[in-house]
Amino acid sequence: MTDQHSDKDEKKGLSRRQFLKNTGMVAGGVVGGSLLGGLLTNEYQKKQEAQIKEEAAKGAALQEARMFFSRKEDFDILGAATERLFPQDDIGPGAIELGVPYFIDKQLASYWGTNAKEYMRDPFRQNSEEHDYQHKDSQKDKTGPNTDSQTPVPTPRYQSRLTRAEIFIAGLRKMEQVSRDKFKKKFVDASPDQQDQVLKMFENGKVEMQGVDSVTFFNLLLKTTIEGVYSDPLYGGNKNMQGWKMKEYPGPRASFADVIEAEDFVKMDLQSLKDYQKFA
């Protein structure tokens, strides 16, 4: 009987964590009795958790190589800029620790970075009208019934013949040039305040760029930074779900039917798409 039971468990791939979950110990169950208490804190478990963490860290590190940016210098400027947009503080990690630069690198290497699903045919009008469109400050979360769910950054009309990936390269190199011209320093060596001044010049469209407006580059940079902080960890940002942890965002779930009427805030364990797909 006992053997049968364990066979069955093994077939189902029932992990120890799953066992704990099923017995209600992880999912808010009250831990009672010395045996179970001991089970939770014993040496074996500590060792196992440390091992898992180490492996996870190694796995993530292997993915943290540049896929799109060939020059390290460009990538370092990107890192420094994203950290100013979403800095480390007493609430939690900033963009660099969250893996945002790697997230952006991967995005720019994807179909999105190469504008594969966008209309990229001539003629691209480069005139005053186009300039106005680029400067239109339309908050994305206020442009329709289904779009309260968009990242709240401005979305000027895209009328550049450059792809997003090309805009990033041009924008980061321009930031470097502005920093050197203005402060006689590399962007990465400039003080946080000086870095902010450079970013603001781009944000306000004060920098001349070729084939694209500096505000378009800035909006892309800001949008992708926020996305890198909060998207599912599968994309390389939101490392170890630390972005979600700060925000108390639980991750994808099969159901919130039990929570929807709750008067108080319900804080949950974090779950990523990887966890969700195990059961889907």
Binding site: R84, L85, F86, P87, D89, I91, K117, E118, Y119, R121, P123, R125, E129, E130, Y133, S138, K140, D141, K142, T143, G144, P145, N146, T147, D148, S149, Q150, T151, P152, V153, R157, Y158, Q159, L222, E227, Y230, S231, D232, L234, Y235, N238, W244, M246, K247, Y249, P250, P252, R253, A254, S255, F256, A257, V259, I260, E261, F265, V266, L273, Y276, A280
Partner: protein, 579 residues
Amino acid sequence: MAKRLKPVDVVVVGSSWAGGVVSAELSKAGYKVVCLERGPKRVLEDFTGVKDELRFTNRFELMQNLSHETITSRSNIDEVALPVRTREEMMAGTGAGAGSVHWAGATYRYWPYDFEIYSQTVKRYGKNKIPEGMMLQDWGVTYKEMEPYYERWEKTAGISGERDPLGERKSDYPNPPLKESPPIKLFKQAAKNLGYNPYQVPSANVSQRYENPDGEVINACMYCAFCTQYGCDFGAKSDSLVTVIPTAQKTGNFELRTESYVRRVLHKGGKATGVMYVDTKTGQEYEQPAKVIVLGAFTFTNNRLLLLSGIGQPYDPKTRQGVIGRNYNGQFNITFRGARGFFNDKKFNLYAGAGALGGTFNDLNADNFDHSNLDFIHGGAVELRQYGDGAIASNHVPAGTPAWGPEFKKKSIHYAHRNVVVWYTPAIMSWWHNYVDLDPTYKDDFGDPLLRVTYKYTDQDRAIAKFGVEKCAEIVKEMGADIVDKDDIPQEFDHIYQGGHYAGGVIMGSDPSTSALNNYLQMWDMENLFVVGASAFPHFGGHHPTATVGALAYRASEGIEKYLKKGGMLTEAKKSNIA
């Protein structure tokens, strides 16, 4: 060379609600139906286990690939239009089920006032209430005539809701309303305190397991929040893939052909003979002959196919003559304006929700309030919706907060679960200068011209939006918000097409000089061609459009069946009431 296929009774373009309802009804009646869909095949399994905010909400996974085709857009009739190039600026569904798959699920009926808007406005306020250039006209059908079709569509879709205290409806909704979350309770109480009549938003996120009259089963909503811009992985959001498409398939009379891009409606001697389409996998052109052709695609496609095929007289804004492209309307960046409230001592579970979960009221909609001293006509619903916020989306901060840096980080995290938005969904009138035609410069993959939109706002639009913002702010304040931020009113259209609610261009009516279709959506100029969808709306009511699209599709199906039996025009043309 196009390969000629075996003729069928009916060919339908588009597989969303419009094309789907027509496909189901006619194949049930025993006719051979082929439905052509430009996008890929999709099944429920495509939506299982992919709750990924970046992929669907920010990268628009379910939307049209614009590298093949888009639209161009401009404000004034003498400007050069620019292409809408990116999916951040354009949201149009594609693939089996199309727009019905990614929709939120709010399902309101339009008001009796909407269908007779010209007559009723003149009757109550006199002709002078209608400004010059507003193309106000009756729809050629009354609410009373539309009610049975609304009821049929609501039963097919399993709509969950409760009666609007101000509304007129014969039967109850087929399912009870969705659950009330704390923000909705707070909204309703505040609305009551201010003398309004709130109720639960009618929803196609179905509140309990439901079997529709065709025997299709829709599951119960889980409030998982992955709803709008996603396909539902539980089959709990009503769309054409869980309702009318399988109903059509069961008859054995129906074939859905995906990756089939229709380029022309073929016609000869004033009658449609079929459609020409391309299999986008192979590039092979096909001619599909049929007795009846139904355009049941999105507003843009319905308009463009007629213009490309040379059917009907194109509208010319300079002479105000012609019908195809006329009365283009919809909900743009001036709609869905309201007020956002931030709370210091309240924290909501905003990560949970559903597409159409919300509270609403209609005291400020249609002609439910006196417009004698107001500088606009019509109105809109006031709504609080709890879609369920993703982590990327929930970055709302009080006005004056920087868009990035330490203060942004702190406040965006602090307020992530402590804010609500109440908005107004105003009606949009049609104007002589707002229309669609073919672009002279930009082309699609096949060298065909893109559709060009010409659209700008008027004083009516700005006045109605401002009115709504003020009312929404009063409600948010009454809800107890510590900070109340009112939305700005945009002066001009920003040419961003994110809402998905675009209408008109091929409108219904009773006078062939001012409408393209009769009230069965049959073309005045071509009796065996029916154009189904929001493209038939002469103006946009103060509500989300889908229930009216569904109801009109049932009415059109009835008309098509009548036509297949008897032939001829189904209604008589007459001089209609028009501004």
